[in-house]
Amino acid sequence: MTVTVRLFASYAERLGHSSLSIELPAGSRVEDAVTSLRNMPGGSMLPPTPLVAINRGYASPDSVLSEGDELAVIPPVAGG
């Protein structure tokens, strides 16, 4: 299945992408996607369990992904 990954701020800078598509086996979880991202160039700077959101709602490492999901990997927030 294909999942769209959104990256922001320092994560986007390090991986060189703000949005990309990754292929994962059906039934994959967030942690599987993060492992895939950490194996990409620049991906080692991602923490093993970063803050994530699926389709714009906060999710956990064991959340199951579905075809077409938008997975956002969220650096420490710093609004205000």
């Binding site: 959104r6 922001f8 701020a9 320092s10 800078e13 959101a53 714009r56 709602g57 956002a72 969220i74 650096p75 420490p76 927030v77 710093a78 609004g79 205000g80």
Partner: protein, 143 residues
């Protein structure tokens, strides 16, 4: 009740007018502004970015929580993104209620929750030419 990520300068007077209602006897305002120093470094400006769609959704959720917790009916929050200079307003929270206690408490709640939950980031640019992403309690220096 309204929450928005904005790209243009924030107009506090317009926000105060937006929450005005004859039933309200108290209006509380919080303005966050870009300051010239952070942790001993001279700041030239801040570049704010956001996961716009989710940040908006999260701020709306925070306003709904505020409605439940403090019986607030008139509140607005705007967070600006883009390149801001020293003194520019980055966030404005305005709450109007019948009595002051609710508006003061609600403003503090909204500010703290937005800072802690809304997916918004800031890249500080320093006078010495360096830059750094600011996170929750940490700064990641880059050049």
């Amino acid at each position: 009740m309204r929450a928005a990520i904005v790209h243009e300068p924030i107009d506090p007077a317009a926000l105060i007018a937006e929450v005005a209602h004859e039933s309200n006897g108290a209006t509380s305002v919080f303005l966050g502004t870009v300051r010239s120093d952070n942790d001993g470094k001279d700041v030239a400006g801040i570049e704010y970015s956001a996961y716009d769609e989710m940040a908006g959704t999260e701020m709306v959720a925070i306003l709904e929580e505020t409605r439940s917790a403090f019986a607030v009916e008139h509140a607005v929050v705007e967070h600006r993104v883009g390149t801001l200079a020293i003194g520019d307003i980055s966030i404005a929270v305005v709450v109007a209620t019948p009595h002051r206690a609710a508006s003061l408490s609600a403003v503090q709640y909204i500010v703290e929750e937005v800072k802690g939950r809304a997916p918004i980031w800031k890249l500080e640019h320093y006078v010495d030419g360096t830059r750094g992403w600011v996170g929750a309690g940490s700064r990641e220096a880059t050049r």
